[in-house]
């Protein structure tokens, strides 16, 4: 295995792509092709308009069989885009697909040297020479197939996570749904109505929550966080921390031999609990006890003890009586589950808008955020659906909505991106107060109204007709009248070209959104990259928007970038579909970039063993000598051992030392000196 399999003489075919004018616009493709013909080992060279097209791929397959090629080089776009395509074409020609090497002359050449055709052509020739050098040394590789665990995990129990879990479970896949808070439902359960249909948010969400809770194929793990992740696609071992809840379910009670015990959600414990804390679900605008549920519709309907607040007086234990559901000595528990694929649906947090101090949030009582508005206007919220001014409880008659509050902000304080749903929910808010408060006037301060979805623009017109006032201009600052607690909104009306100082009763900031506090930790556990703005990075924005660079890990919802509910659910269904494919296939092929020990060179020093982050290497006794041995299933092919071995005894398949040295030599010693 460790030996280089070679044909008698390397016979390489080079194919140069025009990519329309993408490449041919700045590179002399014919010259590159002619140059390739002069290179050692090159038997045939050709060019074509679009190598990735069917005729282009056929050229490769035909040349392989006609010319008995041992290696193929395509000079075209990035291997990150079309390597799989051309590997298939290589395979179709009867050659091992790993005898293919790509020269990137588009993303890293023609597109970045658009006005330097001579230099770009010369760079393309070098790239082809480098690729031919590697292709001459490539060997047959056989991908390793591994079985896929017939189970999946969804992290995050918001509307996206729930949809993904339901889809997976309905497809017959055992699904673990992990949620960090005590209830599923996510942000959507905090909303009053949804735009543009004005459906009651809870009304359409709670049936789904119940479906998830009751589904036989879903193991719901609330108040649980991901602690550690090991393994790879098909075989992830995920360690979960089940946070101490202090309350047991009827099922857990039965397991403990307590007949008819466990939490029924009656609430007797909360009635007697003497500790009062702000309820985070109501954004601190309503109280909860140290033993609590967030709201009446939580799923599962199980109380939770806030051990940071609990004084362990034991009144709740007494109140629970024979059900014996409260256990104040509970500790965090750990469990490890094996899953084949994972979907991250981590959601978002609200940007701390007090950082934009000029708008006075947290300084002025009557400046609130949109999410606080949702709770205040919601019939199940702290005020029973009556929008009131926090300063005096009065009903506001003039309400200003500040859009792009912290979004589209290039000052470095806020977020540069558009949070995408604020325009639409602010229109909805304007509608809601017009509906509920006679004589109210909503003033909407906007930069642009982005009503891009289905029936959204129509909704915008409707709100205009209903009497909302739109003022195009960014709010410079907000000041407070110290006596009346009314607010002065200072802005520029950019359509009329004059400054505005408007007195209003209340200001609602459509605050930007940002990745949740846990997103960074979770993404690192799963090895998922993020964009510059912190949202998780999809494998390809157009062609693989649900996938990530970690095989077997998929994305759903806002954690990939701001989205409204329809887009979140759509992506969740896409992610569920993608995550179910490897499970239904039953096995996946791993790229065969494994490390191989060349035992004749290995001195058994063991320095490589500590270099491996996956514990894939070990020292073993073989024929009276100590040598290193690789566990292929654990090796991910990074090559860190191969870069370190003092004896050069590790053969990194497809990235072997002689192959890389050949590339370096081809660039620096070959060609026109």
């Amino acid at each position: 295995m460790a030996e280089v399999k070679k044909y008698e003489e390397p016979r390489i075919g080079v194919f140069v792509c025009h990519c329309g004018t993408n490449i041919a616009g700045s590179i002399d493709v014919k010259a590159v092709m002619e140059y390739a013909r002069t290179l050692p080992n090159v038997i045939v060279a050709d060019d074509y308009q679009y190598m990735c097209s069917t005729p282009g791929q056929n050229k490769i397959a035909e040349a392989i069989s006609e010319q008995k090629l041992t290696g193929v080089v395509v000079a075209a776009c990035s291997p990150r885009l079309h390597e799989p395509t051309f590997r298939n074409a290589t395979k179709a020609g009867g050659l091992n697909p790993f005898r293919f090497e790509m020269a990137n002359i588009r993303e890293q050449n023609s597109w970045v040297h658009m006005h330097q055709p001579e230099e770009a052509t010369s760079k393309a020739k070098d790239a082809v020479r480098i690729a031919v050098a590697k292709a001459s040394l490539l060997e047959d590789l056989i991908p390793k197939s591994v079985p896929v665990e017939k189970a999946a995990m969804v992290v995050g129990g918001g509307v996206g996570g729930m949809q993904a879990a339901l889809d997976l479970a309905n497809a017959g896949i055992k699904t673990y749904l992990v949620e960090k808070t005590p209830s599923i439902g996510g942000r959507m359960s905090q909303l009053d109505k949804t735009f543009p249909t004005l459906d009651c948010s809870q009304c359409i969400l709670t049936p789904k929550m119940v479906d998830v809770y009751r589904h036989e194929g879903i193991e719901l793990l609330t108040y649980t966080e991901v602690e550690a992740v090991e393994g790879y696609i098909g075989n992830f071992d995920v360690t979960l921390r089940k946070k101490a809840r202090g309350v047991i379910t009827p099922a857990e009670a039965e397991a403990r031999g307590i007949v008819g015990g466990g939490c029924t959600g009656c609430g007797d414990c909360a009635t007697v609990c003497p500790v009062i804390k702000p309820n985070p679900f109501e954004l601190g605008m309503a109280p909860r006890k140290a033993i609590y549920i967030y709201h009446p519709q939580v799923s599962p309907l199980i109380y939770t003890v806030d051990f940071d607040a609990c004084v362990k007086c034991g009144l709740c234990v007494e109140a629970c009586d024979t059900k014996q559901a409260v256990d104040l000595e509970a500790k965090d528990e750990f469990m490890t589950v094996k899953v084949g694929t994972v979907i991250l649906a981590l959601g978002y947090d609200i940007f701390p808008i007090e950082k934009k101090f000029e708008w006075g949030y947290k300084n002025y009582d009557n400046v609130i955020t949109s999410l606080e508005f949702e709770r205040l206007i919601c019939a199940s919220g702290p005020t029973g659906g009556h929008l009131i001014r926090p300063s005096d409880g009065a009903t506001p008659k003039r309400v200003a909505f500040v859009l792009c509050a912290g979004s589209r902000d290039n000052t470095g304080v806020g977020k540069p991106y558009c949070s995408r749903f604020c325009c639409m929910y602010s229109l909805k808010h304007a509608h809601q107060i017009i509906e509920k408060i006679p004589g109210v006037v909503p003033y909407i301060f906007y930069m642009d109204i982005r009503s891009f979805g289905k029936m959204y623009e129509e909704f915008y017109y409707r709100i205009q007709d209903e009497g909302a006032k739109f003022i195009r201009g960014r709010v410079a600052n907000i000041t407070q009248d110290p006596v009346t607690k009314n607010l002065h909104v200072n802005a520029e009306d950019t359509l009329l070209g004059r400054p505005i100082d408007m007195e209003v009763d209340m200001v609602v900031l459509a605050a930007a959104i940002e990745p949740t506090a846990e997103t960074e930790k979770t993404r690192r556990l799963f090895g998922v990259s993020c964009s510059q703005d912190g949202w998780l990075l999809e494998a390809h924005p157009k062609l693989n928007p649900c996938g990530t660079t970690t095989a077997g890990v998929y994305l759903a919802g806002v954690c990939q970038g701001p989205k409204d509910i329809p887009d979140t659910v759509a992506q969740a269904e896409g992610a569920a579909s993608a995550a179910s494919i490897p499970i239904h296939r039953g096995e996946v092929e791993l790229e065969p970039y494994f490390a191989v020990c060349m035992e004749d060179k290995c001195a058994g020093c063991g320095l490589c063993v500590n270099q491996c982050p996956y514990q894939a290497l070990a020292l073993v006794e073989k024929e009276g000598r100590t040598v290193m041995q690789v566990t292929e299933a654990k090796c991910k092919g990074c090559g860190t051992c191969g870069g370190f071995c003092p004896g050069g005894a590790i053969w990194m398949q497809h990235f072997a030392t002689p192959q890389i040295i050949a590339q370096i030599d081809a660039f620096l010693l070959g060609g026109e000196q």
Partner: protein, 141 residues
Amino acid sequence: MADENWKPKIIAIICNWCSYAGADLAGGARIQYPPDIRAVRVMCTGRIDPLFILKAFQDGADGVLVSGCHFGDCHYLEGNFKAAKRMFLLKSVLKNIGLDDKRLRMTFVSASEGAKWGTVMTDVVKTINELGPSPLKEFAR
């Protein structure tokens, strides 16, 4: 040695997951940078044997760039840490043999930093242009 037509020969050995993807992104965004660098792709900067870099200098390279993921972002957890340690040691070796250690550079460019890739390219070429041809060039081969 003072060749007016001298153009720097710089080799970049870059990781598949971050810097190569970042370089592709720079292409998609049509960010223009000097065309003096040739890239060799490896799966992880951890793969880079210091001998590769010494071989490149022996072959007459004027500069070598190693670019990987940001710390903590490595697709293979910690390959970039190990690469960074090796490059740090290698720089002292280069100094000892009389080669300016600025000819070897390690950068961290993520898959979403196309613009940064352009800046890195421009900056590396500028540095090597200032340093001039490698003194090892005449011994190459």
